[in-house]
Structures are given as C-alpha cells and as structure tokens.
Symmetry: C3
Subunit: 455 residues, 3 copies
C-alpha cells in the first residue's frame, strides 16, 4: 500500500481532526527533504492545495453539464427542455442546500452525535483573504474545500434526474433534490468523510465516492423509479419496448464531459498537491482513472455485441465508460494500470448486464443510471481491498450496506410522501404530450420534429 494513503485515507472536510493529515503530508515531506528550510513551504503548499480544490471543483461542476447533455440526448425530444431545466435546477438547489445545512451536517462536530451526523447550520469560511493572519494548519482555503465538496453533492443529484426522466414532475423532483442534497447525502457522508462511525469503527474506505456519491445517487434513483413506475408504453405484455434517445451525439458529448470532469473528481480527491508525494499521487490517479474508463469502453463495446446479436450498441458502449469510471472511483490510487483496466472492464460487464436485469424487473431507468452508478459503484467499493491493504472486505461491505440501507429507506420515504401529497408523476395526457408542452408550454426543438397524427 502507498504511504501517502496512510496519511490521507479518507476525504475529510474542514472541521474534522482528519483534516490535519493534509498538513501532515507536507510536514512529513519537509522533514524528509529539507534541512535548513522547507523545500515546499507551508505557504506554497497552501496555494497548491487550494489550487487543486479549485481546478478539481470546476471540473466536477462541469460534470453537471455532462449529465444534462447525456440525459437530453437520451430522452425523447418532447421531454428534452424539461430535462435541461431539471439539470440546471438541481445543480443550483444542491449548492444552496449544501450551503444552508448540508456541509456542516456532514462535517461539523460529527463526533458529538456519536459519528452519525453533524450540525445543520449554514456554512461559513474559516478565514478570509483580508485576515491579518491566515491559519495554515488545515493546508488550504476553506472556501476551496467547500466548493469542491459542494460539486460532489450536485453529482449525486444529477444521477437521479436521468433515471426518473420523462415522467416525474418538475416540482416534486426539485423538492426531492433539496432533501437529498441538504440531508440524505450529508448524513451518510458524515459517517465516512465526516470521520463518523463508518470511518472510525469499520475502516470503510471510499477514496472519491463510488459509494458515497455514485451509489447514493443510484439508490435514490432506484426508489424514484420504483415509486414512479415505468414510462407509458415502455413495457407491453411484459416485454420491454425500446425507446430511443432523441440525440445520441448529445449523449456522447455528455459522456466525454463526464470523463473529462472525472479527472477532477478523482484527482482532486487526493485533497493535496503541495508535496512531491501528493503530486505523484494525483498523476497516478489521472492515469488509473483514464484507463479504467478506456477498458470500460472496449469491454462494453464487445459485450454489447454479445447481447445484441453481433451488433454493437452506442449507448451501452458509452455507459461502459461511465461504469469504468465509477468502478475506479472508490480507489483510484493504489491499483496498477493493469489492475485499473481489470476493475473498469468488470464494471462495464456488470453495468451492461445490469441494464438487462433492470429490464427484466420492469424497472424503467431512462439512461441506465442505476446499473452504472449503483451496480458498478458497489463493485468498485468491494474490490478496494484487492489493491489497498488498509481496507477490509468486511469494512467495505459495512459501508455498502449501511449507506444503501439508509439512502434507500430515506429516499423511498421522501418519494412516497411526495407521491401521497402533491403527486410525483405527470398525468397520462401530460406524459403523452411530453413534459415540455405540458409543464413548460414550449418545445425543445420546435422545428425538427414533424407532428405525427398518431402521437
């Protein structure tokens, strides 16, 4: 196992003791390398670490656009404007909720509750640029950490929107997003990245969020899919009827955006750049992340030929990239390149067959978010001990079960409550007309689609 991993195993937020480990990396290296003065001073390390969070942060923010394009391409054109609105809305709501309650619920004084949650108060930075003296002990600007953590919670929400597309109404979807990003995600996040009970008692290890982000999004999506039911016409006489996405080039663009952004997602989850060891770690993470995705693409391409009578399938191949990325996210540092390739390839197999499994269960996931983010996320989490000796299969299982149980139950309860009160689904006429006309009153592509009498 890599030494640097010992020093920064979790993904701590600002106010947890674990955060001091970032400083420890620099300090440790300084001791190794510098007799008279630090080779990387605390000030320079602070700038590097902050810069890593900012670069990682804008890359992950950009993933919100990736989900938007992926989903806009996968829905039928009569729902394309609504899915765009949901995506820019969920990103915004996630930020507001994570500011208002989420961040501190995840990171502030998690110990006080026995490791189960923090304090639901608005976040504020620990230092300001104009302060007389800025405390260097955490190793970075608190606003950069906040920004980086915020874009992660938005990612979890993005995962949900694709699965429940084409039939969930806008308002209940936004309310669900607010609860997910303000409460459900932060509470489960506090258990591990907030240095709570999963971290302290089970040694659960999830480097960049195969479970904490992707499976969380996947579980939330699954409950939505269950309570919403399938799109009208998706299953006829028990058989699935394909509903082709309206613009596969947009979907392809979305997947490229996600792959691009994932370098920030995994790379900046090293949480530090201010030392030779940290820079080396980030570089390894970039290489592993890319190769798991590449292996996912090639594998899914081949598997899609197996399951489609010899013809490859573009959407399955694209989802192979994402499955590879999700799989490597729990541990992108310790695998060798060859191991990363295997991890990504297996993730793609799981996601491809998972898509077929969901169809058998008549669960209608418009974009394949559940196989990609939940199934491959579980795989990625469970395979961590193969390359990272500080993780255990039991600890990983504990993390998967605990997170899954909580997120499933809480999400199910919220969706159910919304269903019983305001309703969550378009009525039949609205669904037939499309969300764009029924909910917004304007189309996404007014000129491209010829009106068909039969529709």
């Amino acid at each position: 196992m890599k030494q640097s991993l010992n020093l920064a195993p979790g993904r701590p937020g600002l106010r947890t003791p674990a955060l001091l480990r970032v400083g420890a990396v620099s300090a440790g290296l300084a001791l190794l390398a510098a007799p008279a003065h630090a080779a990387v001073t605390a000030e320079v390390a602070y700038v590097f670490n902050t810069l890593l969070f900012l670069i990682g942060g804008f890359l992950v923010m950009w993933m919100a656009a990736g989900f938007a394009m992926l989903e806009a391409g996968m829905v039928r054109s009569k729902h394309a404007a609504v899915i765009c609105l949901k995506n820019i809305g969920l990103y915004s709501i996630a930020g507001l909720m994570f500011f208002a309650v989420g961040y501190n619920l995840m990171y502030m004084n998690v110990d006080a509750s026995g490791g189960f949650f923090g304090v639901a108060l608005p976040w504020s930075p620990s230092e300001l640029a104009g302060d007389e003296a800025i405390d260097l002990s955490t190793g970075y600007a608190s606003a950069s950490d906040w920004f980086f953590q915020m874009v992660f919670v938005a990612t979890a929400a993005s995962i949900v929107s694709g699965a429940v597309a084409e039939r969930v109404r806008i308002a209940p979807f936004f309310i669900f997003v607010a609860v997910l990003t303000g409460f459900i995600y932060p509470i489960q996040g506090s258990w591990e990245w907030g240095a709570g009970w999963l971290d302290s008692r089970f040694g659960f290890s999830d480097f960049a969020g195969s479970t904490l982000v992707h499976s969380t999004g996947g579980w939330a999506a699954l409950t939505g899919v269950m309570l919403l039911g399938a799109r009208t016409g998706r299953f006829v006489d028990g058989k699935p009827v394909p509903m082709h996405g309206s613009s596969l080039p947009l979907t392809t663009l979305g997947v490229f955006i996600l792959w691009f952004g994932w370098f920030g997602f995994n790379g900046a989850s090293q949480l530090a750049l201010g030392s030779v060891a940290d820079a080396t770690a980030v570089a390894q993470i970039f290489a592993n992340t890319n190769m798991a995705a590449a292996a996912g693409v090639v594998t899914a391409y081949l598997v899609s030929m197996v399951v489609n009578k010899g013809k490859p399938n573009l959407v399955m191949t694209l989802n192979g990239a994402l499955a590879g990325l999700v799989s490597i996210t729990a541990e992108p540092l310790t695998p060798t390149i060859a191991q990363a390739i295997v991890i990504g390839a297996v993730g793609a197999v799981i996601a491809t067959y998972g898509t077929l499994l969901l169809e058998r269960l008549r669960l209608d996931d418009v974009v394949g978010a559940i196989p990609v983010h939940l199934f491959a996320g579980i795989w990625g989490t469970m395979v961590v001990p193969v390359t990272n000796e500080s993780a255990s299969y039991f600890g990983q299982l504990a993390g998967v079960v605990a997170t899954g149980g909580f997120v499933f139950a809480a999400s199910f309860a919220v969706w159910l409550l919304l269903k019983l009160t305001m309703g969550i689904r378009l009525d039949r006429a609205g669904e037939a007309a499309g969300g764009d006309l029924s909910e917004l009153g304007h189309p996404a592509y007014p000129e491209f689609v010829a009106p068909k009498p039969a529709e």
Copy 2:
C-alpha cells in the same frame, strides 16, 4: 472590507503603476510570514500568478463557445450556421484588434492623456522566456496578462452577436466588432482598469467587469437592436409574437459553458495567486460566483412561473443563471455567501422583468442579452458599496453613467454609419430565407427541418 482588496482593487494591465500592487501583495505577505527567507519566493509567486492568468484565460476563451452554443440554440434553424460563423469570427477579430491596437490603447501611458486613453500601438511582451534575466517586479509573464485581458474583450463582443441575431448581415457585424474591440472597449477600459480618470478621481470599482465588460457589451447590443429594428414578424399589431429557439439543449449547454468559464472570469480577476491571501481570495470568489448563479436560477425559475401563468420557462431560468453571474462580477470577493445569493437573486428578477420591458418597448433582443448583461450589470455595479466599503454609490454611478454614455454614443455612431453606407440588415427575402441560405448558401441542418410550403 478585505485587506487584499486594498492591495489589488482595480484590474490593471501591464504598464500601469497600479500593476505593482500585485507584487505588493506577495511582498507584504512575505514580510508577515518569513523571517529568514520568503515563504513564497518572488519566483514561485511569478509562476503561480502566470498560471492563474493562463487557467483563467482558457476558461474565459471557452466562454466564446458558450455564447456560440447559447445563440445557436436560440435562433431559428435557418440562421444557425450564420450565428456560428459570427461567433468564431468575432472571437478571432477581437484577438487581432486587441493585439493591433486595443491592449495598449487601454493600458499604455493612460496618464499621458489625462486618463482618457492610452496609445494605439501593437502589443508586444515585456520579457521573453529566453531573456538572460526576467524582471519579477510585475509578478507575472506579460503574455499571460495579455491573453487574459484579450479574452475579456472577446466576451464583450459575444454579448452583441446574440442580441442582433437573425437580421444583421455578417460583414457590417464584423466591422462593428473590430471597432468595438479595437477602440470602444479599450478606451472605456482605460478609464478604470487602465488606471485612468474613473479610477483615480471617482474610485469606481468593478472587480471583473459587470460594467466594463458586460454593460459595455449590453450597450453596444442595445444600439444595434435599435438601429436594426425587430425581426420581421416579431411584433404584430404591437403585440410580441414568440419566436422559439431551434434547440434549447444547445442553449442549455451554452449556459453551462458560460457558468464554467465564469470561474476563470471572476476568479482570475484577483490577478494574483502567489500568496496565501490571494489563494484564499480566489477560493472565496469561486464560492460567491457559484452561489450568485445558483440563486439566479432558482429565482428566475420561480419568477418565470409568476409571469407565465404558473408554468416555468427554460430560457428565463437559464438567463437567471447568467444574470446572477453578471450581478456578482462587479464584486465577487467581499460579499458573504448569503450576500452573494441575494445579489444573484435580485439580478435574476431584474433580468426577467427586463426581458418583458424590452418586449413592451418593441426592442427585439433574440437571446435576452440586454437584460442579462446590461440591466443586471448595472445592478451588480451599483450594489458594490454594500459589501465593499472602499466603493461609493456616487463613484459607482459615475462609472455606470460614463461608460454607458460613451459606449452608447460611440456604438450608435458606428452602427449608424454602417447603416448609412453599406447597410446592416438582411433584405426581406434574405431574412425570410434565413441568413444561412442567403449569406452562406448552405444550411446548418440540411436534414432536420422539413420544408414548409408556407414559410
């Protein structure tokens, strides 16, 4: 007010005395923190500062693609190829003109003219990589500063193209862009960022360009809209007729690109990264920028329901993000997160109702550039003194009025001259056929649009 703001209040270019302030930040911090040797040496600060300009620069360059996609989605498909050509053309012309005359007209010896303009000479770097010794006193490579300033002038030009779309001819548009980016923008820019009279006598404060970039683009757009007149059929019997954009997913992509690029726009306008204070400042700016936009989205979503009989509107919601971003751009550093949220939210209200106001005035702004960039830009500029005590309402008003008066008059004169000489508008047949066929002779989407007999 934040201390770092005192040190780097304006946005100076290379050759102004104000530029020395960047060095001053580093020097000041070094004094604070380093007894025997600088914690961040001048060399390391130089690399960090240069890197900030380069990262900020490529992010803002990418905004040119955002405007292109936003506008390509908002026009009708028969004008989509032309708007793409205008966008890549304007970005190119802006760079060439800013090199040939603009940069030095904005930054070189502005004092000599009494603070009203610099010297209209081509730019050249102050130092080269191969020089025996490189002067560290400015704190960064001059080419990185030039690149960063250049992408800003392109942004101002991008704002114009959307407003005047679907009827302005390509050639006069490009000529206008050349004058705007070579002369109009640099002259008004010299007054403040060039350390001219608005900076020295009025203490006008515009951190990243709510007025200098966005309102300037907005005023230029307004004069174009006035002199061009509305699109044929846009107002019938005094009532506005909606003309739906051809691809709202592309518009959504464009807004996501702009949001993404805005982290460079505002963040790198700190002009320095080579100290703990500067890194902290950039982090705060990222957080505030994001939250103003998020608040703009949620606010515009709600307001759009109010003005559209209960139905939300995607384009209004997307413009809410941009209005929030424009609003926070005049001062992204001093507000708290909560203040940034309010600033963005109010900006979105102003932009949404501003869109309706323009319709009442029968001014046809295809993408809503004027409410977003001009109206919200004024709001953002005027609200600076609430959070930044070094700014005054009078100084801000002076900046808004002076910039607005000059840019309006100069732009109006240029558009008018073009109208009286070569003409600026497509003829009626060309407009009906669409700019793509009449000006280029080829369509943007040859397969997607069924030919309609009535059109």
Copy 3:
C-alpha cells in the same frame, strides 16, 4: 532564438537522456537567482511540472470530444451514431495500446536500436506516491508525463476517423487504430521525441507535433481515403457533389473544443512550468497559439468568399482555425505575435485550397482532415527555421519526408491487409441505409429525420 529553447528543445519522454534537460532549466535558473537557497526548489518545480502535464493532459483529452462533435456534425445523420462510437472507441484503444506497447516503444532505450525504435513493453511508472524517497531528477511524476503523451497519440487517431467517415466499417477501423497507436505512431515518434536518429543526426525540430502528431494522422487518413474510395455519390461524372454535414452547430462546438484544448497541446509541450523562464514560455505559447488560430479564421473566411463566388463558407472558416492551430504547433514559442499571425494565415490558405485540390483528385475526405492536419502540418514544420535558428530547412525536410514516407507506407500496408482480408468498407446497401442502421441497428436521431422514400 530563445534560451529556454536551447534547454528543452525536443519533447522527450521519461527514459531518454534528453529528459534531464527539464531539470536543467530549473537548476540553471536556480543558479541565476538564488544565492543561499533555490528560489524555486526542486520539490516545488516537480509539483509545477507535474501540474502542467496534468492540466495539459486533460485539455488534450478533451480534444477527443472536439473531434467527436466536429465529425458528428459533418457526417450525414444516418452515420452520426457510428462516428460517435468510433471516436470514444479510438480514444480508449489509443490509451490501451499506448500503455501496452506504445509508450516504451517510443521512449525506452531508443539508442539501443540505433535510434529507430524503443522496446515494446508495457509502461509502468518510475516512482509511486508512497515511495520512501522520490527521485526529483526528471523533474515530474512519470505518470503525468505518460498521461500527457498518451492523449497525443489519441489525437493522431482522431484525425483519421473524420476523413474515412461514412463508409469505413467499425471493426477494421478499430484494428487500424490499434496498429497506428501501438506501433506506427510510437515508432516514428521515437525518431524525434524519443531522441532517435531524426533528433540526433538531423536536428529536426517539432515542438508540439505538426509533423509527429498532425501529419502522422493526416498521412494515415490519406491512405485510408485512397483505399476506401469515395462515398457513393460523392463524385458524379467526375464532378464533386456536395454532401452537407447534418449539424454545423455541433461542428462549430467541436472546433471550439479543439481550440480550447490546443492551449494544453502546445502550452504543456513546454514540458516544464517550474521556473520563471518556463512560465514565461508557456504564456508566449498560449498567445501565439491563439493568434495563429484567429488569423486562420479571418483568412479562411476571406478566402472562402473568393472560392465560393462571394459567399463565405462556415466549414472552411472553421477549418481555418484548425489549420492555423496545426501550423503554429511545430513552433509556438519562438515566433512573435505578428509572425504567428502570418503562419496561421498562410496555413489557412493552404488548407482551403488543399480542400479543393483533394476534390480535384477525387479523394473524399469528409471533414477536411488531410488539408488541415497534413498540408498545414507540413507548412508549419517547414516554416520553423524562420523563427527558430536552431532548426534548419534540411533537417525539417528530412523530418517531413521520413515521417511521411514511413507513416504512409505502413498505414497503406495495414489498410490494404485489412481490405484484402476482412474488408474495410460498408457494402452498398449498408452505406445507403447508413452506418447507424446497418452496423448498430439504431439511429442517432430517431425523431428528427423524416424517412424519405427516395433515399
């Protein structure tokens, strides 16, 4: 000539002696500037250099999306899903092959073969983040260098896919990509960037790859185009029939992505950021790269009017940007801005008339990849001695001829072998139906294109 160019002239990989030059830059500067301690310590330089590779790497990775969008917009809609599949597939295959054999075939012990090739073994990093001590002599993390080199080979493959679109079958295309990225590209790359015979005996100079990447891709594309033949209906009675791309906004997006990513392509090819001289060099490269592209746009816009009876052409204008970028890639550091403008402008003229030349020769290049990447690449390579006195016309010609001869012959042989064995072209019915239906069985845009009886 710039001094920093003397210090880091080539583009060496990890295991070549040339690589030590990066360290030399830092060391040299340290000697200049620091009496008691290095102003930029070796540790800080290591972090900066690694960061430059990582930022450059993700920017160039993003260019894969640019090619995908450019090509998806340029093909007719019935081939749009296939071209998306090919693009994400080629990027993945390129990474896997460059890991498995390519990198070390290009960089490992090239001397041992007399400078003609390295060792076809899988790559592994030289150091790991957890190592007790990390060797600082190369100046960066080896994984960051690997990642950066890997995305370049993917770029070469991307160039091919556009030229041969709409008729090459998926499977032989992927096999060709595997050979190109695993063997052809690395072997020719070893001659120069691997410090082989072209570097040592001819002083060939190609800063970021006008020849090594772009012409290589262009030659490979040309052989494919020759052996595939033109699309059915492209030439009738010897006259070219225009086949319009299905979505020019996507093509425009692709070009903007490529321009954006090119800052990483050229900028990070400086290979070092850890000194004042290197940071200054990267800044100059950014400025020159942008201005060559801008000049290419304006020039191609004007030339397109000349060749199209007064009407500008969007695709030619967009290709002007790319031609400008390719032209400056062989030497983006030593030209002045004015020289960069001329280099880009001439490149655009060459690419525009080159497109017409190919049509005369009845060579069907769907996107204009050959004029842009091969013709402008040769121009950019041959013009290097004008601004860089360490290069000679003879050495440049040797590089162009040797690389061209080898890549042409090897690519021709591979395509021919594939043609004689498995076949490389869609059958006539499959081409008429489109690759999407014949190879994948699903359309890219199921709703947008009305089925036409005559097609």
